[in-house]
């Protein structure tokens, strides 16, 4: 269905979210992300995380003052990591439409690929953060969002779509974030084709074929 606008990077994936390394702290973070996604923040106990990591529950508190701090760390790490990833992906392209495709593809990869668990947590467990923490994380998200808004504004100015870029971003966010409920990277639909399909929702069929 529709050919890819350009070759997907496919190449070497950034191997891991920065803070989720092999340190005890990193292993707690990875386990927590996985469990928070699978069972939700509230249904994941500190003992669950400890068991997964192979330590005692009390030991968790040498690394994080509270359970909420673990959630916050997951959220912050994944935002930072994906902001960087998007910035890098955009930098490889010149044409706004290709920048847009890089953003879409990067966001989908974040949502269904390596940072899948943490991204899911970002959406579904957001309200488990205290208001203060939500504000702090929101500030980080704004950097990420600005990458999108800049690109969309640019496309809009060039007349590649007519609707409001801010609203457009929200529609795109809906489309991409919902993929976590149905898209599987090794299914029939290639991730690049999905990205193209979403790009077409923004700029229409003109996006296709050429180039």
């Amino acid at each position: 269905m529709g050919k890819s606008m350009s070759q997907d990077s496919g190449a070497v994936q950034a191997p891991m979210v920065n803070g989720m390394d092999d340190s005890p702290r990193g292993r707690v973070l990875s386990a927590a992300a996985r469990l928070f996604r699978e069972k939700g923040f509230d249904r994941t106990t500190v003992r669950d995380i400890a068991r997964e990591v192979g330590i005692q529950s009390g030991s968790i508190f040498h690394h994080f003052p509270t359970k909420e701090d673990i959630l916050y760390a997951v959220v912050v790490e994944v935002i930072r990591f994906n902001t960087e990833r998007l910035r890098a992906a955009m930098a490889e392209h010149e044409a706004p439409v290709e920048k847009l495709r890089a953003l879409v593809l990067g966001e989908i990869e974040a949502i269904v690929g390596d940072t899948r668990e943490a991204m899911s947590v970002l959406v579904y467990e957001w309200r488990c953060l205290s208001p203060d923490r939500q504000s702090e994380a929101l500030a980080l998200r704004e950097v990420y969002e600005q990458l999108w808004l800049d690109t969309l504004s640019s496309l809009h100015e060039q007349g590649l779509f007519r609707d409001d870029p801010f609203i457009m971003r929200r529609l795109i966010t809906g489309m991409t974030s919902w993929t976590n409920t149905w898209f599987h990277p090794d299914g029939n639909l290639a991730i690049g084709d999905l990205a193209d399909m979403i790009v077409r929702r923004v700029v229409g069929e003109q996006a296709d074929g050429n180039g």
Copy 2:
């Protein structure tokens, strides 16, 4: 921004989800939907719901055997109610594009309007249902989804869009369900304009104006 394809119903809203009437049971259901949305299922205590309704916590269990049954009832009521609403909205139109717009508008109304709380619960607290309950509710949801798929297939056959109707439905679901995070019915953007904008994402600019 873009004129409405047709007059929005604006008219009399169906006042209430069937089971959420003024009976004790109905008041429990309404309070629960609100609280589940606000704090999540796990963070809403039975005592919270009881306090909101003005009864004792033990009395809840005259109406629902378990807390999960309250969630299930909310989910079932809102699916049934919105399935009926969509069916009625579709019935008022002949042209597939107009049927599509009715679906989009109806779904957005469900998500940001009167059944807002319960719809949010449907998305965010789904996993708090036991697998059995999920299956049962899924069967009801399929009726709802079939209304969409029939309409989208029809548009596809008429050549009004080229991409796969199943995938298209998923993109639409993402766009509409995400509105609960940002859209406010009495803000600057009219709900009808938002519906039009989403319809354009499916059938392109051809949907506009003329008619």
Copy 3:
């Protein structure tokens, strides 16, 4: 296994404990006895009893002021009924050994026969009665026990056994009451043979066979 000392009554059984008739009160009592035996007093809810009787749980309290009063009534009824039964059975015999056998047989019949449930309650749920109620019921039980002690004393005076009659009564009580855990009236062992066997434990083999 040893022949019966005399013909077992086999005949018409007194049909029912006095108070456990077909009145609402009587049906509550029967149901309660059965349930108290099956699940224990504490694990039997007033709703269980009501369901069994076919009324609402609130209605129980028109017949008994508290749940404990139901237990007390069961206990009192069964003591009264079996005291009368034992008195009647004894009256049919002259010889002390035959009186003893009548007592043993009557007690076993009470424990494994028609009043089985209530007798079990008497033993196993005794402590669920308040101290006051225990005292009152104990006073009734003493009438019953006196029948035994009179007979055993008589046998003792005649030299049919040498040990203390009071202690002997306690050993008999143990033997008979324990039958509720293992004896089934329609199994291989006839109830009359079991009674004979217990009588032999008191008066030795001399009890047997020969007139």
Copy 4:
């Protein structure tokens, strides 16, 4: 190190059921046995046990997953302990009649002596165990019962009594288990005399008299 110059007297018996030591777990078990006996399993709350032990109610669950597991542990410990006690007591005698007396004495001691509370629980709270747990405990009890059946069969073969050994065991069980309702070790009746009296119920007066 040099070996001990004299054999351990063996005199000083560990005065306590194996698992009921001074550990937190052991103290929970002892307190539970006492309370289960006094008030019954259902009327004993976890908070009662905790108060008795001097810990918080939540702390109980570090030692036992559920309240029922406490009951099961009491049951298992007391069965194991008394099986061992009976085995040891039997081993000291050669003659079957003396083995029988050792069994009777051992069982009474279990019922009215140091393991009194737990033995009472065994009888009266048995039904509070789940069916699975009942089966498991029953398997342990069978080892205990086999000691009795072996001895009784031996006596029966030697013609020391005529009735069925299996039924005889049941009558004995009744006599001994009922002692918990009336016998006090420091009353007028010596425990050894009581044992003799029960033995006479099995083998008649022939058991008596000599040395």
